[in-house]
């Protein structure tokens, strides 16, 4: 199988490429890049007016399989991923069983090998059953190829347990990814604490419940000398703490999610449970701070925190509805709409935060499109305006906060491992 991409603007910041050219893909690699390529290919894609960039690496995805295949499967999630331009993703370990042992990793790997349509990497848990008490066998996970551990969805409350894990992780060269939330402060809340929780008559989740934990987790990582990755940063204070830690040369990386820069707490006022996630949508000044942190390098990564839930768990009373939203199909388009077009960041930075940086953190050779690199490619029409509809969702669950939203910039083709894996356009 060979694919010839004609006349697209190829942007590969790692290879320092930014030019309109032809790209020939053969087998699963970029075979050649040139002003004009006339070789015959099985597939020819006219990419005139489009941007050609490395496939996205989404380092925060809840696949729900094994255990909750009614919400999502590895097959359905990876289809959704390819539609959104995501070719590699990191599976969160909060499944049933929890991915907290080498055996569980093997079990998951088997399903991935059989059903995944894109590249799926595995994150292990930090503690047994993600309960926060008993550290997992880090070396055992490492031997299975796991590069990162997290209890995502829960924060490890016990400082000593977290320190122990971080010391082990340092020894094994692994990264600890932290969900930062002090449940004593956030307990039973469901929206941002402040005017929003007061107006809605709901318990609030304070920003303190997040940023105090960001502060603590960075301090423990510093003590252990470990690399720490802060998941789903939602507020100004967290960004500021990370900025300061980076200035002090602490090995911290951080991610945010599209909803934290594209939406704000006023979007939740009508009790739309598709606007309910944890951490919650914050205020306007937090949104501005997240954008700034993405632009100045404080936040390294945009990840979806794709969290599928069935209607049964979402179409109920707000305070009882599940936390979380899907995001694989929209993250690139939302980032282009909300960050690139308004001039907050450029294409180079878009590719860094959505592909290069997460690839580096996870230690995978992705996020580049020079000759010889893996042919994981997204082709996006940056000017196409489109409306994201519920009917078009490929994910098994439909809990997107961006339903019926107008977006500018649409992923048209996704090539994964050298094969055309998604096409959003009729071709001749």
């Amino acid at each position: 199988m060979s694919i010839l991409i004609k006349n697209g603007r190829l942007i590969d910041p790692q290879g320092k490429i930014d030019k309109v050219c032809d790209i020939l893909v053969e087998k699963n690699r970029v075979k050649s890049i040139s002003k004009t390529i006339n070789t015959k290919a099985k597939e020819v894609i006219d990419a005139h007016g489009c941007i050609v960039l490395p496939g996205l690496v989404d380092m925060h995805v809840h696949l729900r399989e094994p255990g909750r295949e009614d919400k999502e499967t590895i097959a359905s999630a990876t289809c959704a991923a390819l539609k959104g331009g995501v070719t590699s993703l990191l599976a969160m370990p909060n499944t049933t069983p929890c991915i907290d042992s080498p055996q569980a990793v093997s079990l998951l790997q088997k399903i991935i090998d059989k059903t995944a349509k894109a590249n799926v990497l595995i994150a292990g848990a930090i503690t047994r059953g993600r309960k926060g008490h008993e550290p997992v066998n880090i070396a055992g996970l490492k031997a299975k190829g796991v590069m990162i551990v997290t209890d995502d969805g829960a924060s490890v409350d016990d400082d000593k347990v977290l320190l122990k894990v971080m010391q082990q992780a340092k020894k094994q060269g692994m990264i600890v990814m932290c969900h930062c939330e002090d449940k004593l402060l956030s307990k039973r809340g469901s929206v941002n604490r402040g005017l929003t929780s007061t107006r809605m008559g709901l318990r609030g989740i304070s920003k303190e419940s997040e940023f105090k934990r960001v502060e603590r987790d960075i301090a423990i990582a510093e003590k252990a000398g470990a690399r720490v990755h802060i998941a789903h940063v939602s507020c100004k204070e967290s960004a500021e703490i990370i900025r300061k830690a980076k200035k002090r040369k602490i090995r911290v990386t951080a991610e945010t999610c599209p909803h934290y820069f594209a939406l704000s707490e006023t979007d939740v006022i009508d009790f739309d449970t598709n606007m309910k996630m944890n951490p919650p949508l914050r205020g306007k000044e937090d949104v501005a701070a997240i954008k700034k942190a993405l632009a100045d390098g404080t936040i390294d990564v945009i990840a979806s925190d794709h969290a599928p839930h069935t209607d049964n768990e979402k179409d109920i009373e707000f305070e009882r509805a599940a936390f979380g939203v899907i995001g694989l199909e929209t993250e690139l388009a939302v980032a282009v709409t909300e960050l690139l077009h308004p001039g907050i960041i450029d294409w180079k930075r878009i590719i860094e935060v959505l592909s290069i940086n997460p690839a580096k953190i996870l230690g995978v050779k992705k996020g580049a499109l020079a000759q010889g690199d893996d042919a994981d490619i997204v082709i996006i029409d940056p000017e196409e305006e489109w409306i994201f509809t519920k009917q078009g969702i490929l994910s098994k669950s439909k809990n997107s906060p961006f339903i019926n939203r107008k977006l500018k910039g649409r992923p048209i083709y996704t090539i994964f491992a050298g094969k055309l894996a998604y096409s959003g356009r009729e071709r001749a």
Binding site: M200, G201, F271, D315, E317, F318, E319
Partner: protein, 310 residues
């Protein structure tokens, strides 16, 4: 005059001052019906109103029932203790069943904030919020405002203090929206722990001093203290609350002579209000109960008209 065009009444936050005035003036025209020998008009004959109450309520449910009956509607009361709700049916499924029974209006009381809004999104028939969690209780605020207007002639410029558990009170929230939209100056007064965060951004003054709340006020709305509620907030002891916040004759001596004392009921004598004040000349508590009927008649009438127009 504004036209009413909404099939539901979910809260006062999203209403304009014109829409609130329209409900008040419609209620004024319905008030007289309850004073007749035959207290009934055929306005909603052939319509079915379902009271769907997930929380115990006497006053509000009976008031809605009487309002609907005086408009000649048929009324069904669904008791959640004996219905399929106990078998785990969701609010939406219950709502869809009521719609399939060809009812016209659901009056819903629920302990979750936003429940009425959610129900309204899923059914085509009208939904009236009779109290959702800590969020809103629009008809209570409307009858409070209606009573104030009846006694003082206007709302604009009035100083109204709301005293009690503001954090957990849907009555407080609806009153704040309604009163501020009509131009009243609202002060909320409670122990600090019972003041929800950033409430001043709703356009009210905040104090924890009952003396300050009463000084110069034209009216005080006294909320019921529910000591049995919410275990995660440090509640003041009952006696301590009475000592520091209750509306008593001594405190009223320092207030305006003709200050109006309101209470949404049921009242806890000796907790948030003394018996002498509850039964005294400043109290309009029973007028509120009477006015609740006219307000609810107006609401049922307006939403039914709007639905017919759609």
């Amino acid at each position: 005059m504004a036209k009413w065009n909404q099939k539901d009444l979910l809260g006062l936050e999203n209403l304009s001052s014109e829409q609130i005035e329209l409900i008040l003036s419609t209620a004024e025209s319905f008030r007289e019906i309850s004073t007749r020998g035959i207290k009934k008009v055929p306005t909603l004959r052939g319509k079915t109103v379902v009271n769907l109450f997930y929380e115990p309520s006497t006053r509000t449910r009976v008031s809605f029932e009487i309002a609907a009956k005086r408009l000649s509607a048929d009324v069904i009361n669904i008791n959640t203790e004996t219905s399929s709700v106990k078998k785990g049916e969701t609010l939406i499924d219950t709502g869809l069943s009521i719609q399939a029974l060809k009812a016209d209006v659901i009056v819903v009381r629920h302990n979750a904030s936003g429940a009425a809004a959610m129900l309204a999104r899923h059914v085509d028939i009208s939904v009236v919020n009779a109290g959702d969690g800590w969020h809103e209780h629009p008809t209570q605020a409307l009858l409070d405002i209606f009573t104030l207007k009846q006694k003082l002639g206007h709302i604009k410029g009035l100083k109204v203090s709301i005293v009690g558990d503001i954090a957990h009170s849907r009555v407080a929230r609806s009153n704040i929206w309604g009163l501020t939209k009509l131009g009243a100056e609202v002060t909320v007064c409670a122990p600090e722990l019972l003041i929800p965060p950033e409430i001043e951004k709703m356009g009210v003054s905040v104090t924890s001093s009952i003396e300050r709340a009463l000084a110069g006020a034209d009216a005080v709305n006294v909320l019921r203290m529910q000591f049995e509620r919410d275990t995660d907030t440090a509640f003041p002891k009952q006696l301590e609350y009475f000592r520091n916040f209750a509306i008593t004759e001594e405190r009223l001596k320092k207030a305006k002579k003709d200050i109006i004392v309101m209470h949404p009921g049921p009242i806890n004598r000796g907790t948030e209000i003394s018996s002498a004040v509850a039964d005294g000349k400043n109290s309009v508590i029973l007028d509120q109960v009477t006015n609740g009927i006219a307000i609810r008649m107006a609401v049922l009438f307006l939403i039914s008209q709007a639905r017919r127009a759609q």
